[in-house]
């Protein structure tokens, strides 16, 4: 809904808004800028010259591909796990009434409210206590803790808007639980799940803190970048990869925003 007041904002407000936006986005633009610099040891401004060679260099570095591959696999599996668990949990909390329902709702959301470092330490000590060696799967588990929350939050909001009588109507018309899920619930919560899944993927893709605690020798892309910044060797390669990360995480978030934005009408409440 847009305000139809046509009066222009005061100049001071405009300047403040512009300054705020610049503060937020100039650093990101600088990352893009230094991806094309000819100086590889330090970031000097303005760059002495511009080149596209770092794209080729990054393309040919196997460690970049390894880190990227690991990140994509971790994010995909963590998102898949989150989609299943988050949806089930949202269905239980929003469609049924049981003792301790509010508590469970809070406990599910808690991991994202807790600082990542707490989650990281907790998982690390849990893994060593259970004598689970650090591996690909420990990273996935760590990421799933917050991915579940994102999916759950999206799904629970949509579930609340699917009126309970739709499910009853479906059962009444002869559909069993599976058919009801397939033909009534899924079409109504589909976009919410897609949005939640994309957000979860984006979160997992650039996660550093929990990953540092739950990864063994493997490097996800953000961890690789952190290491790379410490070593002053082919620095702009990091910027090229950073650009890629921005694109990979921004696109799903934008898509998620557009998918959930138009879902304002309540499914089943149209009387």
């Amino acid at each position: 809904m847009r305000s139809d007041r046509s009066a222009a904002a005061p100049l001071g407000l405009k300047i403040a808004a512009a300054a705020g936006l610049l503060f937020l986005h100039v650093p990101i633009l600088l990352i893009f800028l230094y991806a094309f610099t000819t100086e590889e040891k330090s970031y000097q401004f303005p760059p002495p010259g511009y080149t596209l060679q770092w794209l080729a260099v990054a393309w040919n570095r196997p460690d970049v591909w390894q880190a990227l591959g690991l990140s994509v696999r971790v994010a995909s599996i963590a998102t898949a796990v989150a989609l299943v668990l988050g949806t089930l949990c949202a269905a239980a909390v929003s469609q049924t009434k049981f003792f301790g329902r509010e508590t469970i709702s809070l406990l599910v959301i808690l991991p994202i409210a807790l600082p990542g470092i707490i989650t990281g330490i907790a998982l690390r000590s849990a893994f060593s206590f259970a004598e689970i060696p650090f591996s690909f799967w420990t990273i996935v588990l760590g990421h799933a803790t917050f991915c579940v929350v994102v999916v759950y939050n999206n799904a629970v909001a949509r579930f609340r808007r699917v009126s309970g009588s739709l499910i009853e109507a479906s059962m009444d018309l002869g559909a069993d639980g599976f058919q009801t899920f397939r033909y009534v619930i899924l079409p109504n919560i589909g976009t919410a799940l897609l949005a939640g899944g994309m957000l979860a993927f984006a979160l997992s893709f650039d996660e550093v803190i929990v990953t540092t605690f739950t990864a063994g020798q493997q490097q996800t892309l953000p961890i690789w970048m952190l290491e790379e910044l410490v070593r002053p060797r082919q620095r702009p390669v990091t910027n090229v990869v950073a650009m890629l990360v921005v694109l990979v995480t921004l696109l799903p978030i934008l898509a998620a925003y557009y998918l959930t934005r138009d879902g304002d009408q309540v499914a089943g409440a149209g009387k």
Binding site: S163, S165, L166, E168, A169, S170, M171, D172, L173, G174, A175, D176, Q179, Y183, V184, P187, N188, Q265, A267, G268, A269, G270, K271
Partner: protein, 338 residues
Amino acid sequence: MTTAVLFDKVSRHFGPVRAVDGVDLAVVEGEFFAMLGPSGSGKTTCLRLMAGFEQPTGGHIEIFGETAEGVPPYRRNVNTVFQDYALFPHLSILENVAYGLMVKGVGREERLKAAENALAMVKLPGYGTRRPGQLSGGQRQRVALARALVNRPRVLLLDEPLGALDLKLREQMQEELKTLQKSLGITFVFVTHDQGEALSMADRIAVFNDGRIQQLGTPEEVYKRPQTRFVADFVGSSNVLAPAFVESLGYPARYASLRPEALSLGDGTGSVTGDRKRVTGTVVATGFLGAANRVTVEAGCGTRIAAMVPASQALPEQGSGVTLSFAARDLHLMDEAA
């Protein structure tokens, strides 16, 4: 006469709340059966017990001779028209109506044809491509009806289906529902809180209060011979007279009901013939209703009696003394003890 739905001492308790408490009823195949009562009286829970959305905590339910306990809604040959219609917002009208056939595995061509026919039956031919959001309340109500009827249920359950419609549309739908029920021969079980609706449509009415059936009978029986004070008051706002007052009129000391329209207003001077009873009192209120007007008379000992007088008759002044008279047989003694 086949019994469509049988309740044998059925109870549904939610913790300490006795939503349905020991209900016995038998819906006969092909009849239009109304469950009437105020909100929270257990009528909707009874309907949900028939549909399978609730399971009884006590008693036994049979649908066409088969035990219904533990049978899920999707394996019962009954369909429901929901109060909020519950049309699927993501499906077109035609797909909504064809839904029941689709989940049963009926072929696409066949089920869409059946859905089209069902829409024609509820006078909405050609509306199939629209979405529920594009229809008016009355149209959605018809779609909900078509969606249930396309499955050829043996019992159709209707949960206050006319509640959300305006008066004019409601009256029209009452007639249509009745006609539809007669032509299809399907048993209708209809839940309503509107006594006028129940009286005008139903073959038999069960009047609910506090999770129990207060009275079960034809509309005429329930209206003219209420068995309890609750029924007398709820079905048509009858005058409920206390035992002492009834005794003073020469009847046994029991609660009695006296319909406002059975009373006629005199000025207190005319002679009253033998088979008519007479009550004198003071007018405390008059109400203009149009076709007939209501006069409330204080008849002593705190007994207030409402009488409907024809519009042609002049309304008496407030505070003036009047005589009300009624035919002796119009006073109905109730079973309920004093």
